[in-house]
Symmetry: C2
Subunit: 348 residues, 2 copies
DNA sequence: CTGAAAGCGCTAACAA
DNA sequence: TTGTTAGCGCTTTCAG
């Protein structure tokens, strides 16, 4: 009690070393049930292709022995592992939380096990780890990958591959439809009287960053709004803070940030500089990450259904893995504006 | 461009169906290098146990063929898969993200692949999924498990198992040392003049929740502080909101919440009711989750080094898996108080 | 130092 | 319907 120490040391009766249930195999089950191992395999995998009573006998035997298949042994002859891989570029980034959740849910639902790896924002590492993973999975899901299109296509030649948040030719890609959310956001700001808006872009090599910038520019032009694109910053809270002066000096009454992290950093810095939000400047983010409503004022943002994205992408991938049938397109991945406290009438 | 649709349908030249690199095996490498497959295996696994020049030849052959081991085939004879499992009780809870990060990092560092599953807060599902996973992993890490001690011990009898955030006899357990952080927090509040403090507990069946409550009670008694324990709530933002009235009516000038989520919800509700933080009531959380500094005022909290916890637990587990040597205890998992804006001098 | 051969647990023809 | 028989790709004795 006094020493709430960090590591509880197992005692003498170390459980991990006895390991009694030395994995029971179909041979054990077969012997107990008085049949051939192959019959056990059949009975357990293809119910119906075996006599009902022997099947029952086999199941009982398996039950009593607490038999569980060895996935590795099964994978060898079949070539299928029931494992799917998920590669995220930066596990630190909260947008991936939702993707992971969705993907995990879809995988488990389909009886698949999820293996996870991260590339720490390095395209080389990403390719290498994806390639390594490929050996043991039936399919691979890439979330906002940093790799080149060529690398991804190379992977897709070996095993079924799907991608979330990026569009790649000839590869199953699930991307949110940004149009709707952006249109809503621009309309929202125009309705509040904003006619000059700044944009803080994210990393220029990111497909999503470019896409958001383009669509935003298009939409603003369409709405006769003056869009001032500032210098790109890192897609983080500190990146956002670093953009504060540029935003202030831009003469804009509202600002779009590439993502919520930037938006939050921006708000923090702006507020600390004595600028009122939304009184002086309105702020809009992208993603609607966990915590976007913790800020004060809470953040108005273009929400991407990341969880659904991960779920749908995984489902589509597994559909292709198992059935081979083309996934049914047209998922409901529309973005929409979540209006909170960080936007208000244009100053002046 | 007009239709930024959700699913990009691969074209006719469907990459996934050709799959040309029909997995090269050690036989291919052996043939190319003019040696026996077993020699290839030796050369690649135990450098030095083979003639230097043949080894080079073999490596060259493997390289040119782009050979990669088949982890499943290797797992069969060896019984070792180079996969470790991680079970989290609720992937929705942000505290787990740090654990996942740390565990993933440690696993990759050790050349292991991480498989992830979640139990959605159900102890049955948790045990069942852990058991399923057990077949394919070399070790299992349980993060804040919901299972019974008996179930966990049962798992630990089959394969090496480690646990984070819970202490279980005879099982490798990594828990933060709460003493320090709690002592700091209580001292901090007493220094600010608080003599009556409320506590909003989390789920009573959670080991960690009970532990925090106990330690807090102890420490407050020691410091001659009046601790009012309120009714437990769900460990979520809405749970926190629901505790606001009880907190207000408790007559306390400061409140501890079981975790940050509760603390954040509490603050939101309190502020909306016109109570000033920390002017009227100071708030302290536990964990220091992502976003704890987004609130305003930002949250003072007892930080648990979750990421390190995941990392260390995984390292210890893998140490046991590979070396079998007992992990070196005494990790630096001390908690500490992070003072932010939600605490201030006692009112009145 | 290297080759030969057996086998890990399971599946999938092919027979019976 | 069930048993027989080959492997899947790799490791690992055991000889040579």
């Amino acid at each position: 009690m006094a020493d709430d120490s960090a590591v509880g040391e197992p005692g003498e009766t170390d459980a991990a070393s006895e390991r009694p249930s030395e994995s029971v195999t179909i041979y054990d089950v077969a012997k107990l049930a008085g049949v051939n191992p192959s019959t056990v395999s059949r009975a357990l995998n293809r119910p119906g292709r075996v006599n009902a009573v022997t099947e029952r006998r086999i199941r009982a035997a398996a039950e009593s022995l607490n038999y569980q298949v060895n996935p590795m042994a099964r994978a060898l002859p079949t070539g299928r592992t029931s494992i799917v891989g998920l590669v995220v570029s930066d596990i630190t980034n909260p947008v991936f939380f939702d993707v992971i959740r969705g993907a995990e849910a879809a995988a488990t639902r389909a009886g698949y096990t999820l293996v996870l790896t991260e590339s720490e924002e390095s395209d080389e590492r990403e390719y290498e780890r994806a390639q390594r993973m490929l050996r043991m999975v039936d399919g691979l899901l890439l979330a906002t990958p940093r790799m080149s299109d060529e690398q991804i296509t190379a992977l897709a030649r070996q095993k079924p591959v799907a991608v979330v948040n990026r569009l790649i030719d000839d590869v199953l890609s699930v991307v949110p439809d940004l149009q709707h959310g952006i249109a809503e956001a621009v309309r929202h700001l125009r309705g509040l009287g904003h006619s000059r808006i700044a944009y803080v872009p994210g990393p220029t090599l990111s497909w999503m960053a470019r896409r958001r910038g383009e669509l935003l520019a298009q939409r603003c032009e369409w709405a006769h709004i003056d869009l001032v694109t500032l210098d790109p910053v890192a897609p983080t809270v500190v990146g956002g803070r670093s953009a504060a002066v540029a935003v202030r000096d831009s003469g804009a009454t509202a600002v779009f940030a590439y993502n919520d992290l930037i938006a939050i950093g921006l708000m923090q810095e702006l507020v600390e500089t004595g600028i009122r939000i939304p009184g002086d400047i309105s702020v809009v983010g992208f993603d609607d990450i966990f915590g976007a409503d913790f800020t004060s004022p809470s953040l108005t943002t273009v929400k991407s259904p990341l969880r659904e994205g991960g779920d749908h992408a995984m489902s589509a991938l597994l559909g292709r893995v198992t059935g081979g049938e083309a996934p049914s397109g047209g998922f409901d991945l529309a973005t929409n504006l979540v209006v909170r406290g960080s936007t208000g009438p244009a100053a002046h």
